[in-house]
Subunit: 138 residues, 2 copies
DNA sequence: TGTAATGTCTCTAGTGACTAGAGGTTCAAG
DNA sequence: CTTGAACCTCTAGTCACTAGAGACATTACA
């Protein structure tokens, strides 16, 4: 059994975040010492690692709740889990696509201006003021 | 002179968002009718278009405030504008990099599971539970 | 000119996933 | 037994909006 600080160290999840996860129902309510401090065991550690891993991959709290629910019913079909992962993948790909378009536009903007002139002639500012100067939609 | 709703239509920025931008100091306080409703002119329209364009490119409100400040002092050096754009570009590139790593991991995860088994054997869940199953850091 | 529909006003509160801080209590080491 | 670090709960703040309540203004049409 170890404290919340120890759990935090081992999982690299900050202490207030652990408490927040408990409040959100991602973590079961921890056992308490006589003095009301949380104590965790291996199961708690594994659960938090799972959560952190999923968060790192961009899953929302809500999605993680569903995944945990599934985890706790090993007999259920895992279709939902695959669906959540696939939807996350679609999301990620959409974001990448959008960011790539932004990247191109920003490169074009930055290249147009050396930063050595005055604001009046700044290509960055001009580009922002007039969308027509852009090559692509965003 | 036109109303906030008209401005909203022309710029595709929602009415409450326009009011929010005003409160944040991105838009000058609008003129008002006798009945206290906001009225805008061409200058207001251009300013909001600028803001929307910058937001679309991912600039923060704070960054846009700086850009607007520059815009209003056309005699100042535009170095700051270029710096803001470049920093935004760096940001965007970092995000793309990270998302690409996530994408790879999610593909690997999804491929490992057809979604036709039970949760106990689900590769998605297993991957989340055990980071060691991952190919790369994220 | 009357009325009804639509638009606008301010204000408060909610979103997601935390983060920061106040003010108080408990624990572990020496 | 004392000290200081770690812990507790609670509230409020972050970012960029979004939603809703309840009241007032404007516009279109009869």
């Amino acid at each position: 059994m170890f404290s919340i600080g120890e759990l935090s160290k081992r999982t690299k999840v900050k202490v207030p975040t652990i408490r927040y996860y408990e409040e959100m129902g991602l973590l079961a309510e921890a056992e308490r010492t006589g003095g009301n401090q949380r104590r965790y065991d291996k199961a708690g550690l594994e659960r938090l690692s799972f959560i952190r891993h999923a968060r790192d991959l961009g899953f929302s709290i809500e999605a993680i709740l569903s995944l945990i629910e599934l985890q706790e019913h090993p007999d259920r079909s895992c279709q939902a889990a695959t669906e959540i992962a696939t939807s996350q993948l679609t999301d990620v790909r959409a974001k990448i696509k959008r960011l790539r378009a932004l990247e191109k536009e920003l490169v074009r903007m930055s290249k147009g201006c050396e930063g050595d002139g005055v604001a009046e002639d700044c290509y960055v500012l001009a580009s922002l003021a007039d969308h027509k100067l852009c090559n692509r939609q965003h």
